[in-house]
Symmetry: C2
Subunit: 342 residues, 2 copies
């Protein structure tokens, strides 16, 4: 069923020249007669010739392909980062191979290996939640493949990194809550083996300390990073004898949504009796009632940054000093769910 494709030999044969000349013309080399070049290009178009990138890649030893591994493709943040990367790489004729780890280390390892097999030039990864062993990532480096971590990074691995300043963002969010007069602020935290969640917690603690508010450990709920878990944690919190007057869902807006739903169901008024702050600026946070205060991570921009970082690193090998870690400052988006003053 697969018909034979036109190759440079077909073109050469038809024009009574050699494949080398055809190859040169197709690559716009200067060492071809202008007229034969035109003729070759014309014939190539007539024969509907398409370059065999695989053969070309095998010969040249590079694939012009970037591999991406994310926990889930269809999560807003990741989809946006990928879109950003695609945008920036498209112009340079790079391809993207996308894999999702489904938050499982085992699948993550398989994905990474596949990408190594594929001879990708660069692997961009945000590690999965249950990722603990990192030999597969070291392997990437050993194979001479550029490794760029983003968002969820493994700190001890010395690679290029593009991250959000999570601690600062959390600090600002919690400070904002305090300024709004909230005094018992609860934290929904994410898996602490992921640095991003550690940092968000650190920002929370820092804000409390800065404002001399004591840390109440009962107000910190572990592993509340889905809507359901967020809801569950909220039920617990709001049933306490002294419930919190604000909840910082540091894991995600989904978790914050869980908070909002439970709070509303339990008759707590938002924001007057309970302040809510999420994380990620998912589209829906703007249209809930009340709308949810959250933190924008500039995800598309983050993708573009990742791509450009790679290109820079390629171009100036050892000629320029390149920052190894790019930290993007997220932005606190203040909305109704935390606005009880002016």
């Amino acid at each position: 069923m697969r018909k034979k494709r036109t190759t440079i030999y077909d073109i050469a044969e038809k024009l009574n020249i050699t494949a080398s000349s055809v190859s040169r013309a197709l690559n716009n080399s200067n060492y071809v007669n202008e007229n034969t070049k035109k003729l070759i290009l014309k014939t190539a178009a007539e024969l509907n010739y398409k370059r065999n990138t695989i053969a070309s890649n095998l010969r040249s030893g590079q694939s012009k392909t970037i591999g991406i591994v994310v926990p889930r493709i269809n999560q807003n943040f990741f989809a946006n980062v990928i879109a950003g990367i695609e945008d920036a790489t498209y112009e340079k004729n790079y391809n993207l191979i996308i894999c999702q780890s489904n938050e499982q280390e085992e699948k993550e390892v398989k994905c990474v290996n596949t990408l190594i097999n594929q001879q990708v030039d660069c692997i961009v990864i945000s590690v999965s939640a249950d990722s603990h062993d990192h030999t597969h990532l070291k392997n990437v480096i050993e194979h001479g493949i550029q490794l760029i971590q983003f968002d969820r990074v493994v700190d001890e691995l010395e690679t290029l990194k593009v991250i959000n300043d999570n601690e600062q963002a959390s600090l600002e969010a919690v400070s904002h809550l305090i300024e709004q007069g909230y005094k018992r602020i609860a934290l929904l935290e994410g898996p602490q083996n992921l640095d991003i969640f550690k940092q968000r917690k650190a920002g929370y603690l820092k804000a409390l300390k800065k404002h001399k508010i004591p840390v109440v450990h009962d107000l910190i709920i572990e592993n509340a990073w889905t809507k359901e878990l967020g809801a569950e944690g909220t039920r617990k919190l709001l049933s306490m004898p002294k419930p919190p007057d604000a909840i910082f869902a540091s894991t995600s807006d989904f978790s914050a949504l869980g908070v909002l739903e439970v709070a509303t169901a339990m008759g707590f008024k938002v924001p007057s009796e309970l302040g809510i702050c999420g994380y990620s600026n998912e589209a829906f946070t703007e249209i809930t009632s009340p709308s949810i205060t959250t933190i924008d991570q500039f995800s598309i921009y983050m993708g573009k940054t990742i791509a450009n970082l790679y290109f820079q690193e390629m171009e100036n090998k050892e000629t320029e000093v390149i920052p190894k870690i790019i930290s993007i400052k997220p932005k606190l988006i203040i909305r109704s769910s935390t606005s009880r003053k002016g």
Copy 2:
């Protein structure tokens, strides 16, 4: 910087055998001594050998890669379809190359050509809004590459297709509105060069006809397929001397959201004075107030269906009759924005 990778020759050399034996062992051929096979596999692991998929693909003439072209990666529906495809193809060790056309025909053509160059085995595409010429798609077929269209398909192109039954879904949605007592039902329609939007309009017209409601052309708003355009159309509709009592935003939930915002701002009560129905079951439709009635397209399932369709088609070449078009019946999700009866 890129170190030399281990090849089958390195393994062969080390074990004093030939590359063919190594190749056979690595491919789990039966024509290798069990012991040497074990030895080879062990040595391969020791040397951190990774198969060069590019070379392998060049040799075997197939790439085990599926190319995907969608208007936007970070749109919920497409992200979900891709996630579904990834899920189903991952087990079979297929790779995905993802491109976005940004709704531009020119970029779509470039994407498709890149994928042809990459020797992908299959191209999965949902055409962009301004797509008119389809020679690039015919080209895919001419190159012996399996072409699967989904959602936004070009009808006249005889390829495998996975679609939603848009007409039926719209018919049900509008019928539901009528049953709820709405009498002047407006339609926000999408670009009519895309079949999906034609079909949705057809469903709308069919429902009116079925219930003997006359078509009022002023109630049909063209090209209202973003939140902004939906809002604009709604302002127009609700300013009419005889405004509609329901709006079917057949293009998307975003458009429906625009309707809801404008309606609320203009003081129309939803659903009592104005019914609203969207399309796609975006996550946010569940949490607006009121929640929005919409149509679920089973996007992840759609992705899996696409992948399985490809595998079936590959396996039973000419042995079985395969349906060329798979139509998935979307589901009407009735929520508050249209519920004014018991």
